[in-house]
């Protein structure tokens, strides 16, 4: 048997005629942080819902710490700590009480839960609100502190698999960084972490592996550098088109430099090129701009976001596609 803490194979799930997960395969090993990226409605939350036994798959298999989730969902849930995308029900509780309860539910002693809660509050810099009670209708604690508390509730007890669904929503920049450090620590402590997000830039800093979902299918998977797929010396030339303007890079013959990858996202065109061609690229783009064929341009190092957009470009071009999956989960 494999040593993976999460092993998803050929997972399929439909909502009526919409295929939310289409033969999805992914694996999280102990100590590894795996990012699950995708646009809204790509099928990320559907996948998570199946892992924690809220939805039953229509095909394929899921194993968490060796436990078959479909056959024994209750045991599998004990192996998973989930920070859901929806806010945790904290009304009437202080962050301290909420984190302690989460620890107690996972079998920690009162003393261990208390010290772990305190340590996490320090780690995430929410001690200021540690004893403040959340009140109904969003009172008492801000959305960011609630989100950090929910994260701490998922991180408080050692479990084989931690799933974080958009953990940094509403969280300020300084505490975001602390949260990512804690995510990294969870991995270093031996847990497998599945990080569900559409924030590619943030994910890049923390993940070991990435899986990109698009319309329910895995369209790319690998380490960040594998996904970038280009050498570190590659650059990205971004052309901003006029509204309804022609794309001057549409015909390869019109582009005077070799282009490794071309992605169009709305009015932006992202061209990947070698650093050696930078000068020629800038000259070409400057000409385009002075001829008013483009609004502007920018030259920057290639990022994971470029690779992500390339992998999901078909979806961006077809933005009218029906996405009903989000409404079901």
């Amino acid at each position: 048997m494999s040593d993976a803490v999460l092993e998803v194979e050929a997972l399929s799930r439909r909502f009526g005629s919409v295929v939310a997960n289409d033969h999805v395969a992914l694996r999280v090993r102990p100590g590894e942080v795996v990012g699950l990226l995708g646009h809204n409605g790509a099928g990320k939350t559907t996948l998570v819902s199946q892992v924690v036994g809220l939805l039953r798959p229509h095909g394929g298999s899921i194993r968490v710490a060796g436990v078959d989730v479909i056959a024994d969902p209750a045991t599998a849930r004990r192996c998973v700590a989930l920070q859901a995308q929806a806010q945790a029900p904290l009304d009437g509780l202080t962050p301290r009480a909420a984190i302690e309860i989460a620890g107690r539910l996972r079998g920690m002693s009162q003393a261990d839960a208390r010290s772990a809660a305190r340590a996490l509050a320090d780690e995430l810099d929410i001690s200021e609100w540690f004893e403040r009670r959340a009140t109904p209708d969003g009172g008492g604690l801000s959305g960011g502190v609630r989100r950090l508390t929910a994260f701490a509730m998922a991180a408080v007890a050692p479990v084989p698999l931690v799933i974080l669904d958009e953990p940094t929503n509403d969280v300020d920049a300084a505490r975001r960084r602390r949260l990512w450090e804690t995510v990294r620590r969870l991995g270093d402590d031996g847990a497998g972490v599945l990080l569900v997000t559409h924030n590619v830039v943030e994910a890049e800093r923390v993940v070991d592996e990435l899986v990109v979902l698009d319309r329910g299918k895995v369209v790319a998977a690998g380490s960040p550098s594998q996904l970038r797929g280009t050498s570190d010396r590659d650059l990205r030339l971004e052309l901003s088109l006029h509204p309804d303007g022609d794309d001057p890079s549409a015909a390869p013959a019109d582009v005077p430099i070799p282009i490794a990858r071309r992605v169009r996202v709305g009015r932006r065109v992202l061209l990947t090129l070698s650093a050696a061609d930078a000068e020629a690229a800038v000259a070409w783009a400057t000409t385009l701009r002075s001829n008013e064929r483009i609004e502007g341009y920018a030259l920057a190092p290639v990022t994971l976001e470029d690779a992500y957009l390339a992998a999901t470009a078909d979806a961006a071009a077809d933005s009218t596609a029906t996405r009903e999956e989000a409404a079901h989960v």
Binding site: P30, R106, E123, T135
Partner: protein, 265 residues
């Protein structure tokens, strides 16, 4: 901002399945969680119950000219049942419908706990919210009409608890069976049915025969009669048939609720 000193506890992450947490620990932790959420509204609910009790006992009294002691006793000893029913069949479904809309229901179902314990913790808290209604109604009636009760304590406690559990379980079941908006609508209809069309605060003989037999299988009249027998034990007696009807409704409500909690869509 100064960097705090971070003292991370020793973490022991095992790749294997974590130990099962004790049921009592889980139940107590869930109870603490649920109680914290309901705690803020508890005093408010008791005030509302007092107002409702006053409305039923004093307000309905105005409908009966020259009310005699017998009628006043009948009306007053039906009021606790109405209050408990309103909590169970109106407030519980509204609370559950809100939890479903806000995502709380899903959040709780994803926790590493046996899901029936979620219901048990909820039931416990709603019981704590509903049962003061019995006391409130008894006190209001005493203040208004000044008659004396003949309590059958074991029967009174058993009937109150059974009625509250039944109403909460059925209310929970309504909320998990129907879409949230429809559930809230259904509760409004139920209030009218319980208040005006159920022989709880007026004698069964007031209703046409066919409707009387409908109330033999619905839980409202049996609950009312059992509670009344606990309050005025010298004039009224509880029947085994009423007990059976209440128990059956209780089981139906619990089974539907547990199924909804355990089910994977």
């Amino acid at each position: 901002m100064s960097e705090p000193i971070i003292s991370t506890p020793p973490v022991r992450t095992h790749a294997g399945v974590p130990e099962r947490t004790g049921m009592v620990t889980i139940y107590k932790s869930l109870l603490r969680w649920t109680m914290a959420q309901a705690g803020a509204m508890l005093p408010l609910v008791i005030v509302v119950q007092a107002l409702l009790a006053a409305g039923i006992i004093i307000g309905f009294g105005f409908l009966i000219p020259d009310i005699d002691t017998h009628s006043a006793q009948f009306l007053s000893t039906g009021a606790p049942t109405v209050l408990v029913m309103i909590i169970g069949l109106v407030m519980v479904p509204q609370g559950v419908a809100q939890a479903r809309t806000s995502g709380t229901f899903t959040y709780l179902r994803a926790l590493p706990v046996p899901r029936p314990l979620l219901l048990l913790a909820d039931l416990t808290v709603w019981l704590a919210v509903a049962l003061p209604g019995v006391v409130v109604a008894v006190v209001v009636a005493q203040l208004r009409y000044g008659f004396s009760y003949t309590f059958d304590w074991p029967l009174l406690v058993a009937a109150s608890v059974l009625t509250a559990v039944m109403a909460t379980a059925v209310g929970y079941a309504i909320a998990v069976l129907l879409p949230p908006l429809l559930a809230q609508l259904a509760t409004q209809v139920l209030v009218f049915f319980v208040l005006l069309f159920s022989p709880i605060t007026f004698p069964l003989s007031q209703l046409p025969a066919w409707f009387q037999s409908v109330h033999d299988v619905l839980p409202f009249r049996p609950a009312g009669d059992m509670l009344r027998a606990g309050l005025l034990s010298d004039s009224y007696t509880a029947s085994w048939q009423d007990l059976a009807v209440l128990l059956i409704w209780c089981v139906i409500g619990l089974v539907i609720s547990v199924c909804a909690l355990v089910r994977r869509a």
